[in-house]
Symmetry: C2
Subunit: 319 residues, 2 copies
C-alpha cells in the first residue's frame, strides 16, 4: 500500500466521492477524537452520505450532548477515515482489524506514523477538530449548531481550555466561529472544565498526598494506585485533571503521574514546561506524544516506575 500525504482540499474531494464512510476514533476517547469523529459523521450525513463514527471504548456519558442525537446507521463501508489517531496501537482491541485498511487519516500529531493510505497531518493545529472545522466547508457542507458543539468540544479540550502551548490565534478564531455557528461554549466549558464529581475530588485529595518532589522541585510525581481508584470509586476519566496538577506547581519543569494499571503495569503521563520535551522522555520507554504532554507504559510496580521515570527525567533535564 502506498502512503501518501495529501492536501486538505484533496481530502475533502475524496470524502465527497464516497457514499458509505466509516470513521474511527482512538481508544480511551477524549474530547478531540470524539468531537472530530462525530462532527465529520454529522457533516457527511448532512451531505447525504451514510456515515458512522466508532470507537473501541465506550464514549464517556459526559459527551452525551454530542452523541445522543446521533442514531446508528448500518452499511457496508467503502471508505475508512481515522480522526485524531496517531498510530495503529491507538485503535484499541475492537478496531484492531482496521489498522491496515484506513483510507484517509486526519490528524494533528507530528508523530503520526503514516499508517493510512492517504494522510493529512497538520501538527500546528492545536486540535484535530481545528482541522475538521476547515475540512467541512471544503466539502461544501455548512457547519450547523450540533457540528459546532462537537468541534468546539475538540478545540477546547485538546487545548486544556485554551491554556496549552499549542493554542494559537487560529485556535481562538476557530472557537469564535464555532460559537457564531451555534456552539454552546458556556455549557461545554462548564461541563468539561468546571465540574467535578465527589469521587474525583476525593481522588484529587489522595493524589496530592502522594506528591513527591525530586531535583529541588524541578520534578513532581503523583501516584494513583488501583487501590486508590477502588477506594474512592473514581473512574479513569476522573484522572484527566489530576494529570495536569504536578506540572502546575511553581518551579516544576516536569510533572509526572503514575497510574497503576496492574500489579506490575503502570501508565505514565508526563507534562512538561518550556525547555523540557515530554515526548523525548516518554520515547525512552517506548511511548510518545507532544513536547508539552506525552505518555508511556512501564511494566513495573508504581514505586519502581516512579524511580525509573525520576532518574530518566533527571538525566534529560540535567543535560
Amino acid at each position: 500500500m502506498s502512503m501518501e500525504n495529501i492536501t486538505l482540499e484533496k481530502a475533502a474531494e475524496m470524502l465527497i466521492e464516497q457514499d458509505n464512510i466509516l470513521i474511527l476514533m482512538h481508544k480511551s476517547p477524549d474530547g478531540d477524537t470524539i468531537g472530530s469523529g462525530y462532527a465529520l459523521c454529522l457533516a457527511l450525513r448532512k451531505a447525504g452520505k451514510k456515515a458512522q463514527a466508532i470507537c473501541s471504548d465506550p464514549i464517556p456519558s459526559k459527551y452525551g450532548y454530542i452523541t445522543d442525537s446521533i442514531d446508528d446507521q448500518s452499511f457496508e463501508p467503502d471508505f475508512i477515515v481515522s480522526t485524531d489517531i496517531a498510530a495503529p496501537q491507538l485503535f484499541g482491541d475492537k478496531l484492531s482489524a482496521y489498522t491496515e485498511s484506513v483510507d484517509l487519516c486526519i490528524d494533528h500529531h507530528g508523530s503520526n506514523t503514516r499508517f493510512a493510505k492517504y494522510s493529512y497531518i497538520e501538527p500546528s493545529a492545536a486540535a484535530c477538530a481545528q482541522i475538521i472545522a476547515k475540512l467541512i466547508p471544503l466539502m461544501g457542507t455548512e457547519i450547523d449548531a450540533p457540528i459546532a458543539d462537537a468541534l468546539f468540544t475538540g478545540i477546547s479540550t485538546d487545548t486544556g481550555c485554551f491554556k496549552f502551548r499549542n493554542t494559537t490565534a487560529e485556535t481562538y478564531r476557530a472557537a469564535a466561529e464555532m460559537i457564531e455557528r451555534g456552539a454552546r461554549n458556556y455549557m461545554i466549558t462548564t461541563l468539561m472544565f468546571d465540574t467535578k464529581s465527589r469521587q474525583q475530588l476525593e481522588l484529587e485529595k489522595r493524589a496530592i498526598e502522594t506528591l513527591d518532589y525530586r531535583m529541588d522541585g524541578k520534578i513532581a510525581i503523583i501516584t494513583i494506585t488501583t487501590e486508590m481508584m477502588a477506594e474512592t470509586g473514581a473512574e479513569e476519566s476522573d484522572t484527566d485533571y489530576i494529570v495536569s496538577l504536578p506540572r502546575q506547581i511553581e518551579g516544576v519543569m516536569a510533572g509526572v503521574t503514575i497510574k497503576q494499571k496492574g500489579e506490575k503495569l503502570c501508565r505514565i503521563s508526563v507534562r512538561a514546561s518550556d525547555g523540557v520535551d515530554a515526548s523525548e522522555i516518554c520515547s525512552l520507554f517506548g511511548g510518545g506524544g507532544h513536547k508539552g504532554a506525552a505518555g508511556c507504559s512501564i511494566e513495573a510496580s508504581p514505586a519502581e516506575a516512579k524511580e525509573m521515570m525520576a532518574s530518566a527525567i533527571e538525566k534529560v533535564i540535567g543535560k
Copy 2:
C-alpha cells in the same frame, strides 16, 4: 456636573485632544483593571502624550510582565480616566480624592453608578480590556506587543480563562487579535491559571478534607481555619481558587467557603449555580455581590457560621 453617556468614538476623540492623562484602576486590582489601565497608558504614550496609570493598592508582582517596562512620568493631569471601576467605593483610600473628578469612565459593569462626567459602559463586553482593544485603534494608535499582553491579560482573567458565562465569540476574536499583535498567550494563561504554589496545593488538600454536604449534596461547605492557613503557610490569594471549588461539584447548587478571620469572625464566600441567587443569601447577613458570586461576614466561630449559612441556604433553596 452633568453625567453623559458617550460613544466609544467620542471617548477616543476626547483622549486624543488631551496631553496629560491620569488613569485610575480599582482597588484590590485584578487582571482586567490592570490590563486595561496599563494598555491605555502605553497607547497614550505611544501617541505622544504624558500618561500614568495609578491604583490605591500595590500591583501584585505576578503582573510584572506588564508593569516592569513602564516608568513613572510626573505631570499635572488635565484629564482623568477610570478603567473597570464600577462605583466610587472601588477607588480605595489613596485614590478617594478623585471620586468626583473623573472626566471619562470606561467600564463593562452594568451596575456602573455613572460617577464620571462622561461614561462609556458596555455591559456585554466580557472584560473592560475588550473595550480598550476597540478604543485604541479608534485613537489612531496601533496595538503593539506590550499593549497586546496587557489586553490579553484583562480578557483572559475576567472570563476565568474563557469559561465564564460572559464569554462570547467577540471575546475569542479579541483574544486572537491580541495574539496576532504579539500577546504571549501561553505565558500569560500559564501564569494566571496553571500555576500553583506548594502551599496552595497543601491548603487545597486540607480544604477538601473539610467538605461538608447538606441537603443531599445541593449545598457543599468548605472551611478554612486560621490554623490551616498558618500550618500550610498559604497566603490570602491562595484561597481564590478554593472558593470556586465547592460549587464545581456535581449536583451542588450553592458552594460555600468559610474563611476564619478571628476567633469569632468569619468571611463567607458563596458561589451559586443557575436558579440560586448568592447575593440574596449573603444579603441575609449584611453582605452582597452578584447572582453567581457573593460574600458576607459573620461574627461567629467557623462551626457556628457554617450552621448559620447552611440553615439560611436551606430556606432559600427550599422556597
